[in-house]
Symmetry: C2
Subunit: 352 residues, 2 copies
Amino acid sequence: MTATRGRSPVGERLPTLEDVARVAGVSRATASRVINGIRNVDPQLNEQVWNAVGATGYVPNRLARSLVTRRTGTIALVVSDSEAHDDDPFMGRFFADPYFGRVVGGLMSVLRPAGVQLALQIVGTPDQRTRLIGDLRHGQADGAVVLSLPAHDPLPRMLTDAGVPAVLIGRPPEPVPIDYVDLANDTGAALAADHLVARGARQIAMISGPADVPASSDRVTGFRRAMARHGHGWVPIAHGNFTRESGEAAMRSLLDAQPAVDGVFAANDLMALGAQSVLRDAGRHVPDDVRVVGFDDSSAALAASPALTTVRHPLEDMAAEGARLLLARVDDRTMRVSSVIYEPTLVIRSSS
Amino acid sequence: MTATRGRSPVGERLPTLEDVARVAGVSRATASRVINGIRNVDPQLNEQVWNAVGATGYVPNRLARSLVTRRTGTIALVVSDSEAHDDDPFMGRFFADPYFGRVVGGLMSVLRPAGVQLALQIVGTPDQRTRLIGDLRHGQADGAVVLSLPAHDPLPRMLTDAGVPAVLIGRPPEPVPIDYVDLANDTGAALAADHLVARGARQIAMISGPADVPASSDRVTGFRRAMARHGHGWVPIAHGNFTRESGEAAMRSLLDAQPAVDGVFAANDLMALGAQSVLRDAGRHVPDDVRVVGFDDSSAALAASPALTTVRHPLEDMAAEGARLLLARVDDRTMRVSSVIYEPTLVIRSSS
DNA sequence: AATCGATTGGAGAGCGCTTTCCGAAGTGTT
DNA sequence: AACACTTCGGAAAGCGCTCTCCAATCGATT
């Protein structure tokens, strides 16, 4: 049995800058300069150092470097879920949802070329939130991309108060001077309304998401307003929570209340899918009897049958822009607070 | 609610352990002991220190701590894609795929309660691979969960050679003494075969994935073997690449070659979906004319219509087990190399 | 009362790196 | 040839933390 446990084998010390310097016959300072390409160093020494790097197999220790430079080359992806406790089943669903993956993909498309890595952080309790802020202020990460789920999340405010570079995906529930990217959800919903009306639907209903999520309430507002413009002062709305199951339940209650419904706008694709299946079971043909429009243009929309007409949400682009915004702020913390709003478009498929 | 306001956000020095010690009137060492709960400290001093922590708003600097403890409380999620260059569009698709999200969800279900965070790393070029190994050896992360995509990935071997704690999701393409979790893909495929035969299908074909991915070739092998047991010595196979489009193409070529086909097993759900849509367009009814079975039990399987019969792949459980395995190895590097193989089950829905 | 062992707190040596601060060269000007 | 300027390399001071020593204190044992 070896003496040390839970440690790498003894004597396996990795080469340090010190070693490189010794091999190259220069001081640690010079080696550091060469490796970081700072100031002109005599070409002769320069080569000696690089040779030493090759010979020793030296790789800089990021941790040590970060400790002094206060730059980590890491961005935190913070998922803020005020209610979550550790084994919240919701979180599993959240990650499996295309939303999460699309955001990660968008972020990475910018972060990866920049050599920045992403660290996933989930915060639920107030304690975790304070801890997160502390870590960020210490430079545990250079900045944070925040997916703020709960309605009254104190996190955005905490971040700005702490002076941590951060960008929100989706506008803050309450006004906070923080960078964010968002989608013109109301415009998107209006697109859906206009389309349903243009397709000849007369009895149009909506399946909404949770009322306290801004993206969700904006879709309701936008839809209502557009419908009003078309002379529908009142639109029946059934509430869901963005899951497929809730979409089914909502559609059932809608059918109950208004059997003649011939157009449905669901606040996301998953609920639209649920609605489609309920409609099918009820013997209604989509799109001949009932036109269905979703929101997000997730991969599920294409997989559906009939393929779902939906409002395209350019989430990857938004996340990418968010990453760019954040990187810019990390470089210049005095940058003016800004937000970028994306315009959604309608993707017409077979369900309407 | 304690507001750590009043401290100006930028530029001001954060309280260090030194500050806490001074305020508490003890030495830095004692403060450290109290905060890390090590050894018995006089209750009186203990309280003084905690008060000082509260008064100063102290949060330990993880970086500094990690530098000396050689523990970061971070696990790297490594996506290894030998071909990828920075703007590879494939990556976007990968993240949007439920596979990625399910893995993340499974990992987090274990990592989060353990207070461990996840750092996303994508490696494509040999250079990035060496860099990653270097970072890991330096303790940039305590261990790595590896999603190894390419067929002849040198990464698993490099990891074991470097002595870095690591666990693979899916068995290594070439035998390497490394921990991994995997699914009994062959058994799963056999389940599909047995089911199709039991349902009365006589002309059964398969849509396979890329031949050089172990998970994919195992499904082919398992399917072939099971079919042979049922007296089908030869099974027509069309090749796809796990995308919906490739599933459509494969189904078309299958219909061409064998118009009387009445049972199809696709190596994943996405391709099964593609097959379903081609069958529908060809006027074949699913499941009356043709029975379709997929693989994975992704959310898409449920969303399909008819809902897809599929082999359930307990990816979240597997990822969670992988995380547990990794955490155990981080604690004890001398642990015996082990692998956990999960048994798939068949989920029967309407497509068969 | 004297001694021994067990607790407990403090001093200080790093972890590996960057970066000022200086002194020693090298370059050009008068 | 003497001067001011510019380059360039090295010494050393940290970044914030942990943890090994060691000294001091205390109670208990003989």
